[in-house]
């Protein structure tokens, strides 16, 4: 996190301290304006910045995998086999590595509608006070829109005969990109113990 948000918060706290220690200063003349800025304007601006920072944090893989139930999904991004889609996408930087979860799950919890946001709260509740289900599943089938958002129109996608043949069904979600005959290997968390994992990019040391 940058120095600017921290410095702003510390300055705002220092300004508010004046109001706590000497409230009478804020009741007359220019003090009233100072009070309005230090109690209302500046803190609201800082909270707006804080909200934005929190939302940016929540897009990171580290954030998603900070819950125990999601750790294995984070680990699945290191599967050393190009047939496993999430791993291949992350390892080849087809999606931003730091925000890989959000790149493919764009309407999940915080980023979805009100219902999705409430589901996100429910997930936190279940993670700490309930029982996490053995098998974690999406509420709705994976939407091809997330794949087509990047792949639609690209040569690799368009030149594939199966894609040409099934184009209408793919676009209408009638045929899922992740269906058994197409790209069935995704997170594969149950097979992690059996699969080879990638240790990350190696740096040339000369």
């Amino acid at each position: 996190m940058g120095i600017l948000p921290v410095a702003s918060i510390l300055v705002a706290i220092a300004l508010l301290f004046v109001g706590v220690a000497r409230p009478q200063v804020l009741t007359h003349g220019i003090g009233k304006l100072f009070g309005f800025v230090s109690i209302m304007v500046f803190p609201l601006f800082i909270v707006f910045m804080g909200t934005s920072t929190h939302i940016e944090h929540s897009k990171t893989v580290a954030y998603c995998t900070s819950c125990h139930a999601m750790e294995k999904y984070g680990k699945s991004l290191t599967i050393d086999d190009p047939r496993y889609l999430p791993a291949a996408h992350v390892q080849n930087s087809r999606v931003p590595r730091q925000t890989a979860c959000f790149a493919c799950h764009t309407t999940y919890t915080l980023y979805g509608d009100l219902h999705a946001k409430l589901k996100g709260l429910q997930h936190v509740w279940v993670a700490y006070l309930g029982t996490v289900p053995e098998q974690i599943k999406l509420y709705t089938p994976y939407n091809n829109r997330e794949c087509l958002h990047c792949h639609d129109g690209t040569r690799g996608f368009e030149d594939t005969s199966e894609h040409k043949k099934e184009r209408a069904r793919i676009q209408s979600n009638e045929l899922s990109c992740l269906s058994q005959s197409c790209h069935p290997n995704v997170h594969a968390v149950d097979e992690l113990a059996k699969l080879k994992l990638w240790s990350g990019p190696t740096e040339d040391k000369e």
Partner: protein
């Protein structure tokens, strides 16, 4: 201490609490941190601002102890 002064002091203290919560949660990238920020921080900020607005509209500044005037 007058009621008006107390109100203002409380408003400042609550907004301060909200900012402290924000400062702490910004260093912790976790869903609970966002929830703490939104609930504890949000509530403290909301109540603090409402108290301040109440003071601005209905508070009587005369009630608050006026700053000491310099002797002429």
């Amino acid at each position: 201490m007058s009621r008006s002064s107390l109100l203002l002091r409380l408003a400042c203290a609550l907004v301060m609490v909200a900012l402290v919560v924000e400062l702490v949660t910004l260093f912790w990238s976790h869903p609970l941190s966002f929830i703490a920020f939104a609930t504890v921080g949000g509530a403290a900020l909301g109540i603090g601002l409402l108290l301040y607005l109440y003071w601005l509209v209905w508070g009587r500044p005369d009630e608050a102890a006026a700053p000491p005037r310099a002797k002429e």
